[in-house]
Amino acid sequence: MPDNEIANSETELIRRAQAQDTDAFCLLAERYARRIYLLAFHYCQSAQDAEDLSQEVWLKAYQALASFRSDSSFYTWLRRITINSFLNHQRTNSIRIAQPETNFDVGCDETVYSNALFRDVMETLADLTSSQRLMFLLRHYEGMSYEEIGNAMGCSPGTAKKSVWRALGKLRAKFEVGDDAAKERMARLAAEY
């Protein structure tokens, strides 16, 4: 399907959802649910909290959909709601952040190295503060600029950049190649991915 048609159908879905059509909204949710869920999962480090948080984002989006004016893309608008929801949860501490799930199922076809790697990444992300983690995810996973992150999180672009770099530094230190065995392991992992 051409991009134009997708956009048109999305506009049509938004229009129907604004008229309280829940089925149309669910179709919209199906398009972006994965991205929102993964962002929530790596932010709060818990599958259950990620579901609660992402469902809350969709509910808020549904209730606020009448205010959507197509000034930005639907996903940009949705991401803003997502970030605000995350920050609200961070303030109220209603979810337990930085409690990594070590028994998360990454799939039976993955190797032992992959599972170990997964745990390493999760642990390193859990070591970060919730703000640092969110800024890193927004920069790396969502591709937002430092200005956009600063605007969304109420800080300067410099602060956002510092947080992202700090997070990256910790991750890099975790996978730092030292001896030959580690180099070999790293090379193997790189080959797998």
Binding site: Y37, L38, Q55, H140, Y141, R172
Partner: protein
């Protein structure tokens, strides 16, 4: 002149934007010139690539998404019902809580008018009460009263008989007695027999 810090900055931003990005010509020249920067580039590239892959791999299975969307649909339906209910209540609340913006002088004037109106209304009601008191006419109505009927009965004493008892004879007495006897006893004939009934047991000593 090569600057490691500036090169690392450029490497980091390039890889943060696209972990699989290839360095441009200028950056390639810098990396060829400095082994340290080259190592930094490789390490950062692997770190971000692995992190990105781990993030992507965290996605739950397809069966999870079916349940996820079903739960979302249910929540949306519940929210819609709840919203309709709350909208009805807010309409009523809005009516009672609604406010109108007014300039302060107009507001004060309305307040004074309101106070004067209340004062006038209370005075009028007081006057009406007075008028109703003066106009009221007592309406007579009959109250049934139980009156005792006084019956006066004149009793005549037989003074003639007393007077004649001492001086006249028995025949005369009889004659006068007949005269003094009330009309009701005229023609009364006493019986020859006298019936006397003695009721015993009147007192415990009686036998």
């Amino acid at each position: 002149m090569h600057n490691c810090k500036a090169t690392t900055d450029r490497i980091t931003e390039l890889l943060l934007n696209r972990p699989n990005a290839r360095p441009d010509d200028l950056l390639s020249k810098e990396l060829l010139r400095c082994a340290e920067c080259r190592n930094e580039f490789d390490a950062l590239k692997e770190t971000l690539r692995i992190t990105g892959r781990v993030i992507e791999k965290s996605e739950p299975s397809k069966s999870y998404w079916n349940g996820y969307h079903a739960r979302l649909k249910q929540q949306l339906d519940n929210a819609t019902i709840h919203e309709v209910e709350s909208r009805e209540t807010t309409l009523i609340l809005r009516f009672f809580k609604s406010s109108i913006r007014l300039p302060v002088p107009v507001g004060l004037a309305l307040l004074v008018l309101f106070a004067v109106g209340i004062r006038w209304a209370t005075r009028v009601s007081q006057k009406q009460v007075v008028i109703t008191q003066t106009i009221s006419v007592p309406v007579p109505f009959e109250v049934p009263v139980v009156q005792e009927k006084i019956v006066t009965r004149v009793l005549y004493r037989d003074r003639v008989r007393k007077r004649n008892e001492s001086s006249t004879a028995t025949s005369v007495v009889a004659k006068t007695q007949n005269e003094a006897r009330p009309a009701a006893l005229i023609g009364f004939k006493p019986l020859d027999e006298v019936k006397l009934t003695v009721i015993k047991g009147g007192s415990p000593d009686e036998k």
